[in-house]
């Protein structure tokens, strides 16, 4: 057995893989930001404590405003034609995720969990979107509701559904293309799914499969606000993972498929 191990050990120990050219700067920036932050940590500690309170106040304000504007009952811009349903499939990359160049970094617990905000003036921004008009003439889409929409049978059933129905295209299997596709969609008042959009892409084939899976879901239990069914935006990660090498036909669901399903309501990065 020793000889067989050596085939791998000799070649892979100390093996080098090429990194993207931008990676070095990304690393150095990250380290620089950390060092800068370590010096200022004490100053920001008070902000970290105050943030939840501020967030709660802003949330309450936005919600109140939204209630008022709904009572007006005058659709804005309703002269425009209804928006065409579009699917945006952005290029690979981390859209919308603020990273190293953030102006403020707030450490919430210990060293590992960072909240970054883009600039001093943007504090309210993630909150303002908690009720957002998707396009002119359409009804409001909620990001946060009292009662989240739910896949029939709950999160585990959703994972089971994705696992059982996932078809990884052969060409992805052969070229070992795998990864996590993030899809957002809207759960309508009747529980149907509309506007699935890939927000984090891996490969066009996997993106298409993710959209297929999402579109083919059975009707959800709609989200509710004040007991009224509402349209709610939801995001799920779909993990495509190959367990076997190339031509193996037996790509089992063991260990594969889906991890932590989360509602967009819990994830403010989008």
């Amino acid at each position: 057995m020793k000889d067989f191990d050596d085939i791998f050990k000799q070649r892979l120990e100390g093996y080098e893989m090429k990194l993207p050219d931008t990676d070095r700067d990304a690393f150095l920036n990250r380290q620089a930001t950390r060092e800068r932050f370590a010096r200022r940590r004490r100053t920001y500690l008070s902000i970290a404590v105050g943030l939840p309170a501020v967030a709660a106040i802003i949330m309450a304000l936005v919600f109140t405003i939204s209630l008022f504007s709904k009572q007006d009952d005058v659709p804005v811009n309703n002269t425009q034609t209804p928006a065409v349903q579009e699917q945006v499939i952005p290029a690979q990359g981390n859209e919308g995720i603020a990273e190293d160049d953030a102006d403020i970094m707030i450490c919430i617990d210990g060293d590992d969990h960072w909240v970054t905000l883009d600039g001093d003036d943007d504090w309210g921004k993630p909150m303002e979107t908690s009720v957002l008009s998707q396009s002119p003439g359409e009804e409001d889409v909620f990001l946060v509701v009292e009662e989240s929409p739910e896949f029939p049978g709950g999160t585990n059933a959703l994972m089971g559904y994705l696992r059982d129905n996932m078809v990884i295209p052969d060409s992805c299997r052969e070229n070992i293309i795998q990864g996590r596709v993030l899809v957002t969609f809207i759960v309508e008042k009747d529980g149907s799914i509309t506007k699935p959009v890939v927000v984090k892409s891996v490969n066009h084939l996997l993106d298409a499969e993710a959209l297929r899976l999402v579109s083919a879901m059975p009707k959800w239990k709609p989200g509710r606000q004040n007991g009224q069914a509402q349209r709610v935006k939801f995001t799920i990660p779909i993990n495509f993972r190959l367990d076997y090498y190339k031509n193996r036909t037996k790509a089992t669901a063991t260990e594969s498929a889906v991890e932590d399903i989360m509602a967009s309501t819990k994830d403010k990065t989008f």
């Binding site: 990676d23 060092e35 367990d243 089992t252 063991t254």
Partner: protein, 184 residues
């Protein structure tokens, strides 16, 4: 080029240039190491950054003991970071259900196997189920024993040995397939 000790000292002091040099020397090796465990480029990149940054913070526990000791130290630290992450993601708690790997493969021709490109071997390792991959990497490549592995990922020593046997069997059939395909 600076000596390893000097490099470490400057990096700790926040010298950007030294940190760049540290990166230039070790990043692609540590990146490949991470990829070997997680089989995902983006995640490997992320882990490599985490490990290097952790290294910056804990250089004071590094003891120089000859050339190459910095890499050995970095490598150990990186493996720990990777195992921690795998454990966090609870990827390691799931032991694969599929049991019967075909055993009794014909002997592999080790000499012919020497010609297999390293990236192909890498892909074979990457394609193992995650538990097998972790055990194989730790035992066969990074030099841990079954006791270390059992403690690190929370399985028994016996379990570790049996997972290793399956990993080997699976890799062996991959290698033989590859040799057959390429006509050797």
């Amino acid at each position: 080029m600076r000596t390893e000790q000097e490099l470490v000292r400057l990096c700790t002091a926040g010298d950007r240039e030294a940190q760049g040099e540290l990166y230039a020397q070790y990043a692609s090796r540590l990146y490949a190491l991470c990829y070997r465990y997680v089989a995902d480029r983006e995640e490997a990149q992320d882990l490599m950054h985490d490990a290097m940054i952790k290294a910056m913070d804990s250089f004071k526990s590094f003891i120089y003991s000859g050339d190459g000791s910095l890499y050995a130290w970095l490598r150990r630290l990186t493996v720990n970071v990777v195992i921690d992450r795998l454990r966090q993601m609870s990827k390691l708690r799931l032991v694969p259900l599929d049991q019967t790997m075909e055993t009794g493969n014909p002997e592999t021709d080790e000499d012919a196997a020497d010609d297999i490109p390293a990236q192909v071997l890498m892909d074979m390792v990457a394609a193992l189920p995650s538990v097998r991959r972790t055990v194989f990497n730790m035992y066969c490549i990074d030099g841990f024993n079954h006791k270390d592995i059992a403690a690190a990922i929370g399985i028994t020593e016996k379990g570790s040995a049996s997972i290793l046997a399956k990993a080997r069997a699976q890799l062996k059939s991959q290698v033989n397939d590859y040799l057959k395909r390429t006509g050797r």
